[in-house]
């Protein structure tokens, strides 16, 4: 049974330093929520608090209908997967999976049944008698997930579970976790600093910085409509191209003036009645090559070409800085080519220069 989780005015601090202050977050039943942010932003601290592994200095945590603020971890109906796997080195896989059930005093045959089922889901049958030291990284992480799975918990907590794996395994396990969520429908809270994981897994992403949520929204929204400069810069690879300039009203229209020139903004872009300093953010795919597109353009020179396979990242140097463009995989060009870049100002994001907030 998926249950909602609710953090209400939560504050967490060690001594006099507050890591998280007055934090509110509602996680719907069955939702996959990702807490994303740079290290030290408080996301792991928050996860530990939800798990009951660190104490709150203020506020409440509700899971389902229960206030669990002071409940023991075991009474919260949670399972947790750690970055370091945290498998019990002295127990084999089977014991690792069954330990929590044994603690709970479950009947032996029920334990065996559950371990069997979990092992089947995660394809761990061949390894049940092995110690963690004899497992590969991917297998270890599967056991760690299994340890949560076996206990039939309502809520899964993931603390950067894939960080210690190589790229290929990471992708594989990511898909597995996604599938698991689709099958179980459990509430999952997932902490990571990897935006690809966040984008691919999350129903909603909470982007955090210094203990404060910068934006809480669907991956699509966060990518296309970042709430502020921090989110804009943090999400997307390569990062958004930022152009400082100003919105200038003129004859009922709004123009974007910058070192690259002054361009008229379409109606879909923010309008302004007075001149104000802004920063325009353009995703690499929002800058196009050539003038044929009819977009306002400027001259630049190709400095680096990164062929990624499916697409190619083009780094171009203009007078006012470096711009990145996403090109198709079969892009043919050479370093040193002179090009004209076009800006898709209609779909760009605009942020207030002073506050960094989206307009």
């Amino acid at each position: 049974m998926p249950v909602p989780v609710s953090l209400r005015s939560v504050a967490i601090g060690y001594g006099s330093t507050a890591v998280v202050k007055d934090f509110d977050l509602e996680i719907a039943a069955g939702e996959f929520l990702v807490l994303l942010g740079p290290s030290g932003c408080g996301k792991s601290t928050l996860l530990n608090a939800i798990a009951g592994l660190s104490d709150l200095s203020d506020g409440e945590i509700w899971i389902g209908e229960r206030n669990v603020t002071w409940a023991d971890p075991k009474d919260r109906g949670i399972g947790m997967v750690f970055q370091s796997y945290a498998l019990y080195p002295n127990m084999n896989v089977e014991k690792n999976l069954s330990f929590g059930l044994q603690v709970a005093g479950m009947a032996k045959d029920e334990i065996a049944r559950r371990v069997k089922r979990t092992a089947a889901i995660l394809q761990l049958e061949p390894y049940l008698q092995r110690r963690p030291a004899a497992l590969s990284g991917g297998q270890r992480q599967r056991v760690a997930i299994g340890r949560a799975l076996v206990r039939d918990v309502d809520i899964f907590l993931f603390d950067e579970p894939l960080s210690n794996l190589d790229a290929k395994l990471r992708t594989e396990l990511r898909v597995e976790i996604k599938k698991l969520h689709q099958e179980l429908g459990s509430t999952m809270i997932y902490v990571t600093h990897d935006q690809v994981e966040a984008m691919t897994l999350a129903d909603r992403i909470a982007i955090m910085r210094d203990g404060v949520i910068q934006q809480l929204a669907s991956p699509r929204e966060i990518y296309h409509r970042p709430a502020n400069l921090f989110v804009a810069g943090f999400i997307g690879s390569p990062a958004m191209n930022l152009v400082s300039g100003a919105l200038v009203p003129k004859a009922g229209k709004t123009f974007f003036r910058s070192e690259l020139g002054t361009f008229e903004l379409p109606q879909s872009a923010p309008q302004s009645a007075e001149e104000r300093a802004v920063i325009a953010g353009l995703r690499p795919e929002q800058i196009v090559l050539g003038t044929a597109s009819g977009l306002p353009g400027f001259a630049a020179k190709v400095s680096v070409i990164e062929a990624m396979g499916p697409d190619t990242i083009l780094w171009c140097e203009a007078e006012s800085g470096v711009f990145s463009l996403r090109m198709p995989g079969d892009f043919a060009g050479a370093v040193g080519d002179s090009v004209t870049l076009g800006l898709d100002l209609a779909n760009a994001s605009y942020f207030d220069s002073a506050s960094g907030k989206r307009l």
Binding site: N48, A51, G52, L53, D72, P73, K74, I78, G79, M80, F82, Q83, S84, Y85, A86, L87, Y88, P89, N90, F99, G100, V103, A104, A144, R147, A148, R151, L157, D159
Partner: protein
């Protein structure tokens, strides 16, 4: 030791016995000499007759392998009117050392575990106090401890001397285990808590099995200390439980009379035999235990 370069490698193999290598072994040899010399002297002396000891060099080999001084030291050397050698104290030492070592190691493990992972209020203060306790000379404790054990009715008893050893072993064992547990990832502890295990469950199902190397280290160190103790055994154990070291003292520290160095040396080696054997047998574990654990200060 595996050769990193397979013999099939082409070309002239570089000379392996370089000057540095020779120097290294020379250093080890000199060090070994320094470390073995005292034991050598003690052992050869235990086979020499008194005349030989008086006349010959201390480093010279005995004229013959005479075990009689060992026998005398073990079973008939006199201390006062009792001529029973050090053997009488042997079982007393065992009776004191075994429970005291086990209890103090367990107490240190539990304390270190609680201080490392649970950190209840006052933990830091407690740890600081325990650390400082490690610096206090034992002699200061004698009078108050005598009063305390007498009040508990444990003075002059096996339980009393075991208690005293556990009390004085606390700083060392706690320090060792706290450092050991500091090196264990805290996630492991968190995972066990999420799995629903409580304080004791995590301790005996997870931490204790994981601390096997440190149990060996702390056990050996405590065993050595307790076995070698003289003063506490003398004061607290009571006449019926005097450890071997007290007999040794009685035999060796005679204030008057002829000193039978051969018997003394044999008695000394006999008394030191248990910890020595323990180190020879489990020295590998000792090194491994420290390697596994106390790396994190």
């Amino acid at each position: 030791m595996r050769d990193p370069f397979p013999a099939t490698a082409r070309g002239q193999r570089p000379q392996r016995l370089t000057t540095a290598r020779i120097g290294l072994y020379a250093f080890l040899l000199i060090a070994a000499l320094f470390f073995l010399l005292p034991a050598y002297v003690m052992i050869v002396t235990s086979f020499k007759s008194m005349g030989e000891i008086r006349s010959a060099q201390i480093f010279s080999l005995p004229q013959m392998l005479d075990w009689s001084y060992w026998l005398e030291a073990w079973s008939s050397a006199c201390a006062g009117v009792n001529c029973n050698g050090v053997s009488v104290g042997f079982w007393n030492s065992v009776k004191i050392t075994v429970p005291a070592t086990i209890l103090s190691v367990l107490l240190g493990a539990v304390t270190g575990y609680a201080l490392s992972f649970w950190k209840p209020p006052g933990s830091k203060l407690l740890f600081a106090a325990i650390t400082i306790g490690g610096f206090i000379p034992l002699q200061i404790f004698l009078f108050p401890m005598v009063r305390a054990t007498a009040a508990l009715g444990l003075y002059n008893s096996l339980a009393g001397i075991v208690l005293v050893h556990v009390v004085f072993g606390l700083p060392l064992t706690t320090l060792l285990f706290r450092n050991y547990y500091a090196a264990i990832p805290v996630e492991l502890f968190k995972a066990a808590r999420v799995d629903g295990a409580g304080f004791w469950r995590i301790f005996y199902a997870l931490m204790l099995p994981l601390s096997l190397p440190m149990l060996v280290v702390a056990g050996l160190m405590q065993m050595t200390g307790i076995w070698n103790d003289f003063l506490l055994g003398l004061v607290f154990a009571g006449r019926d439980n005097l450890p071997m070291t007290v007999q040794l003292n009685n035999i060796v520290t005679t204030t008057t009379g002829q000193r039978e160095y051969n018997v003394h040396m044999a008695a000394t080696v006999l008394t030191a035999l248990v910890p020595l054997v323990a180190y020879f047998v489990s020295g590998r574990w000792f090194v491994r235990g420290i390697t596994a654990g106390s790396v994190k200060g």
